[in-house]
Structures are given as structure tokens and as C-alpha cells.
């Protein structure tokens, strides 16, 4: 007793199947096309300005830029103040966030399922979702108002460090979870003190995992603009005093964008920023891939 009279159009169904696959491929290509378009645009418009002096000289003032434009010359100067400011603030943010993040990650790993650890984990997740501009406001209220009494590199770093912190906490915990429990037990069985087992055995074993997390966190904060507008403010001079206003590459891009005389510098600065961000991004992926 065969089922007869089944009415369906197999040809139509197969065509639908094919059309759907074509759409999936087409839309996927559209999805990733902006990355190609953006990078090409940056290279096309930015490579000319990129030179050694661009990296080591500070930004010109708007008059210098204007006279260079009217003389059809390349705008003099560079973005050294931004590059240095970015590295200063990100490094300082790392100094704050990395130890706290790693130790908290270890705490979460060591206290799986406990009430307090769950609370810390959930709060850390909430912090991860806080918009960066709000972190800028917070650091303004805390550091600018009460610690440095003015816009400062430190306040920028504090905002960035709160951004990095939850990413490092999470990657530390996830990395440690993947290390076999027996390793810890072996260490303890040898009579090695607890703290040495944690920081002398577990952390080095998971080192590349932690590195991946840290590099990724750094690559995320390097391009941040909004929180720095509220905290570091920007500066036309090279500054290494953490209690003084400081520039950063994204802040300079924002300034160039708002100054008609400086517009030509936007692309080279953005290209440089992208190179730095993507390098961190790809290196972190490489470190992660090597682990496997």
C-alpha cells in the first residue's frame, strides 16, 4: 500500500533550495564587504601621508595646515602626540586591569558555583555591557573631578581599564577551566603552596590563553574615542604626565574631522589606527590558534 496522490512539486522545492543557498552566499559576501571597502578606502587615501615623520612629529596647528594646503604642499607634522598618548593610556589601563582581571578570574575559577563568585561573575558581565561613553562619564566624575582635578591621561586609563577588566576576567576563567584538574592536584600533592600552584603552575600553563584575552581586550580599547573625549580630552603637545590632558590617535581623528584644514590627516591617522588594531587582533588570533 504505497501512498499515492502525493502532490508536491519537487522541481520547485529543489529550485527554492538552490535560490536560498545563493541568497545565503550573496548576503554573507555583502556582510563582509564593508571590511574590504573600509580598508581599501583607508589605504587609498591614507598611504601618501604615512611617513616616518608622521610617526615622530606632533600635530601641526590649524594655521600651519592651512598655509600648507594653500601652497599645495603636504601638511607638515604628524601624530606622535596621539601615538604616545594612546600607548601611555592603554599601557596604564593594562597595568590597572590585567592584575585585577587575572586574580578575579582565578577567584571565579577556584569558587565555581559559590554564591559570591556567581555574583562577581554576573556583575562583571554587566560591566562588559556598559556603553563606553558611560564609562567616560564615570571616570570624569571620579578621576577628573576628584583625583587629577582636570582632564588627564589617568582618567582616560581608568575608563579604558573598566572596559578591559570584564574581558580579562572572563578569558582567564575560561582558560583555567580548560586546564586539567589533575595538574593542580599534582602540584598540591607535591606539597607546593596553594598560591604557587595557582600562579606558578596554572597561570603559566594557561599563559597563551590569557595572552589572547589581554590582546583582544587591548585591541578593543585602542580604538575607543568616546570615553576619552570626556576624560583625556586631547592635547597638541607630547605629554607623559598622567595627570595632564593627553591626546590619543582616535581623539586626533576626531579633531581632524572637525577641523576643515586638517581633514587630509584623517585618513593616514585612521589607517595607522586600523593597522595597530588589526595587528593586535590578528596576533591574538594567532596566539589562540597556536594553543590548539
Amino acid at each position: 500500500m504505497k501512498v499515492t496522490g502525493i502532490k508536491d512539486n519537487i522541481k520547485l522545492r529543489i529550485n527554492k533550495d538552490r535560490i536560498f543557498l545563493s541568497l545565503v552566499v550573496l548576503f554573507s559576501v555583502i556582510t563582509v564587504s564593508p571590511i574590504v571597502l573600509i580598508i581599501f578606502k583607508l589605504i587609498e587615501k591614507g598611504y601618501k601621508q604615512l611617513s616616518f615623520s608622521f610617526l615622530i612629529e606632533k600635530t601641526p596647528d590649524t594655521l600651519q595646515a592651512m598655509s600648507a594646503i594653500s601652497a599645495h604642499e603636504v601638511i607638515p607634522g604628524g601624530i606622535a602626540n596621539g601615538i604616545l598618548g594612546t600607548f601611555l593610556m592603554v599601557a596604564l589601563a593594562g597595568v590597572i586591569a590585567i592584575p585585577v582581571g587575572i586574580i578575579s578570574g582565578v577567584y571565579l575559577y577556584e569558587n565555581q558555583g559559590k554564591l559570591m563568585a556567581n555574583l562577581v561573575r554576573n556583575v562583571s558581565d554587566i560591566l562588559q555591557g556598559v556603553p563606553s561613553i558611560v564609562l567616560g562619564l564615570i571616570s570624569y566624575m571620579w578621576v577628573v573631578k576628584h583625583i587629577t582635578h582636570g582632564f588627564s591621561a589617568l582618567s582616560g586609563s581608568v575608563a579604558l581599564s573598566i572596559m578591559m577588566l570584564p574581558m580579562i576576567v572572563r578569558s582567564t576563567e575560561e582558560t583555567l577551566k580548560m586546564i586539567p584538574q589533575t595538574l593542580k592536584e599534582a602540584g598540591l600533592a607535591l606539597g607546593i603552596p596553594y598560591w604557587r600552584v595557582l600562579f606558578g603552575i596554572l597561570i603559566p600553563t594557561g599563559f597563551s590563553g590569557l595572552m589572547t584575552g589581554i590582546l583582544l581586550a587591548v585591541s578593543r580599547v585602542i580604538g575607543e574615542t568616546a570615553p576619552l573625549m570626556l576624560t583625556a580630552l586631547g592635547s597638541t603637545v607630547i605629554n607623559t604626565n598622567i595627570s595632564k590632558p593627553t591626546s590619543a590617535i582616535p581623539l586626533l581623528i576626531w579633531e581632524f574631522y572637525n577641523d576643515p584644514n586638517m581633514v587630509d590627516l584623517i585618513w593616514s591617522s585612521s589607517l595607522l589606527l586600523m593597522i595597530i588594531v588589526l595587528t593586535f587582533n590578528l596576533v591574538s588570533k594567532q596566539v589562540a590558534a597556536q594553543r590548539k
Binding site: M1, K2, V3, I6, K7, D8, I10, R13, I14
Partner: protein
């Protein structure tokens, strides 16, 4: 012709010189065998012998994975399955898997009728109701679930789930039912219920079953196939094969020397 391989007259399914290779590893080597209508045929052999691969070629499920090549022919009621649309072929053959796998997002009712829904076949409600009731009665599940047809299939016990999956495969009234170790994830009680069910089902259907379990093959199959390293070593009536195996390898397998 290998004398250890029984010839079947008027087979419903006829496999001729079938070879299957993954990349360069040959999984099934030149198998020729006929399956008799309204019987239970068991495919046995140690793991990796190619028994699951053989079963999957019968409804062309192997084509879901790349780099698998087949040569030879398979005829279902005289029609070459490789020349059919796989959609039609799979509606004419039902398949049951190792683990019960009712669709978790569908109700019991929808699981039974899933074949029709997936194929976009529209019917009147009365027709659907009839198919669901008939299929569930066929697997002796109707009385247990008739009041909870709208519940999710995943709420049933493992054995019930597997019977639901058999009902799902029966809904199209397939000419042949392919089972891939259908009781390997079940407890002994559920297993024996499924075995009883298969014996009753062969009145209306033809059943081909891969099994790991020799005593199961002995209990319910009429014919048995023994495969080893991709080769069909022996094929015959189950009774004969278990009492008087022709090949040394079959004997060693049946006496537990390897497996």
C-alpha cells in the same frame, strides 16, 4: 559467485556490485545481495566493517557528506535508486537512527506527520489525523499518547521516543524501513518492546536493520548478513548462519572471538 551468499528470488531491494569509498578508504567492497520482501534482515559485523555505510547508501543518506563515492547499483522494486530524485527515494524508505531523535520543537502529533510537513504536502485535517493514528497504532504507541498528542515528543521515555521515530518513518508507508542500531541507546525492557514491534511490522513492511547485538539478530531476523572489513562475508537464513556458519570469520565473530 560466492557460495556463502544466498540468492533471493524476486527481491524488493537488490544491491549489485556496490562499493563505497571515503576519499581513498574503501568502506564497502563489491557487495551484491538481495533483500526479501516482508522479512527482517540483520546486518552484523564488528565496528568499522561498513555496515552503517551500506545501510545509508540504500536511501542515499551518504550523499550528505562530501568525498564519498559509490559504484554499483541498488534497485528498489526494480528501479535504480541512483537515478531517482533522493527526495522521492527517501519518502519510499523510512529510516530510524541509533538514538531516538524526535524533533524537539514539534509535538508528538507533528513529529508523526513531520514527513508531510517537511515536504510541504498539504492535506485535510481528517487525512492527517488518520495518518497519525494509523502510524501510532502501528508502533503500539497510540493508547499511550492519544491524550497527549500536543505535548512535545521529547517528554516521552527513551523507548517511547524511539517508537515515535519509527511511527514518523512509517507515516509515508515506506516500501522498506532502514534501522541503524535502533536499540543501542535503550534499556532491556524498551529494547524487547521494539523487537516485538519489528516482528509484527514485517507483515506489512520490509525491514533492514544494522545491529551490534548478535542475540538480537538471532531473536528477530529472518536473514542475516555478516560483514567484515567492508566485505560481505556471508549471507543466509539467520537460523542456518547461527547454527552452521560457512565462513571461519563468521564463526569467530558469532562465538565472540572478535567484535
Amino acid at each position: 559467485m560466492n557460495t556463502n551468499i544466498l540468492e533471493i528470488k524476486d527481491p524488493i531491494l537488490s544491491i549489485e556490485n556496490l562499493s563505497v569509498a571515503y576519499d581513498k578508504n574503501v568502506a564497502v567492497k563489491d557487495v551484491s545481495v538481495g533483500i526479501k520482501k516482508n522479512t527482517v534482515t540483520a546486518i552484523m559485523g564488528p565496528s568499522g566493517c561498513g555496515k552503517s555505510t551500506l545501510l545509508r547508501v540504500l536511501n542515499r543518506m551518504h550523499e550528505l557528506y562530501e568525498n564519498i563515492h559509490t559504484t554499483g547499483t541498488v534497485l528498489l522494486n526494480g528501479e535504480d535508486v541512483f537515478k531517482m530524485s533522493p527526495i522521492k527515494l527517501r519518502r519510499r524508505t523510512g529510516m530510524v537512527f541509533q538514538r531516538p531523535n524526535p524533533f524537539p520543537t514539534m509535538s508528538i502529533y507533528d513529529n508523526v506527520i513531520a514527513g508531510y510537513k517537511l515536504n510541504g504536502i498539504s492535506q485535510k485535517k481528517a487525512e492527517r489525523d488518520e495518518i497519525v493514528e494509523r502510524s501510532l497504532r502501528d508502533v503500539a504507541l497510540w493508547d499511550e499518547v492519544k491524550d497527549s498528542l500536543t505535548k512535545k515528543g521529547t517528554f516521552l521515555s527513551g523507548g517511547q521516543q524511539q517508537r515515535l521515530c519509527i511511527a514518523r518513518a512509517l507515516a509515508f508507508n515506506p516500501e522498506i524501513i532502514l534501522l541503524d542500531e535502533p536499540t543501542s541507546a535503550l534499556d532491556p525492557v524498551a529494547t524487547s518492546k521494539i523487537e516485538d514491534l519489528l516482528i509484527t511490522l514485517k507483515e506489512n513492511y520490509t525491514i533492514v536493520m544494522v545491529t551490534h547485538n548478535m542475540s538480537q539478530a538471532a531473536r528477530i531476523s529472518d536473514y542475516s548478513l555478516f560483514m567484515y572489513l567492508g566485505e560481505l562475508v556471508e549471507y543466509g537464513k539467520t537460523k542456518n548462519m547461527f547454527t552452521n556458519p560457512q565462513d571461519r570469520r563468521t564463526e569467530e565473530y558469532l562465538t565472540g572471538k572478535f567484535g
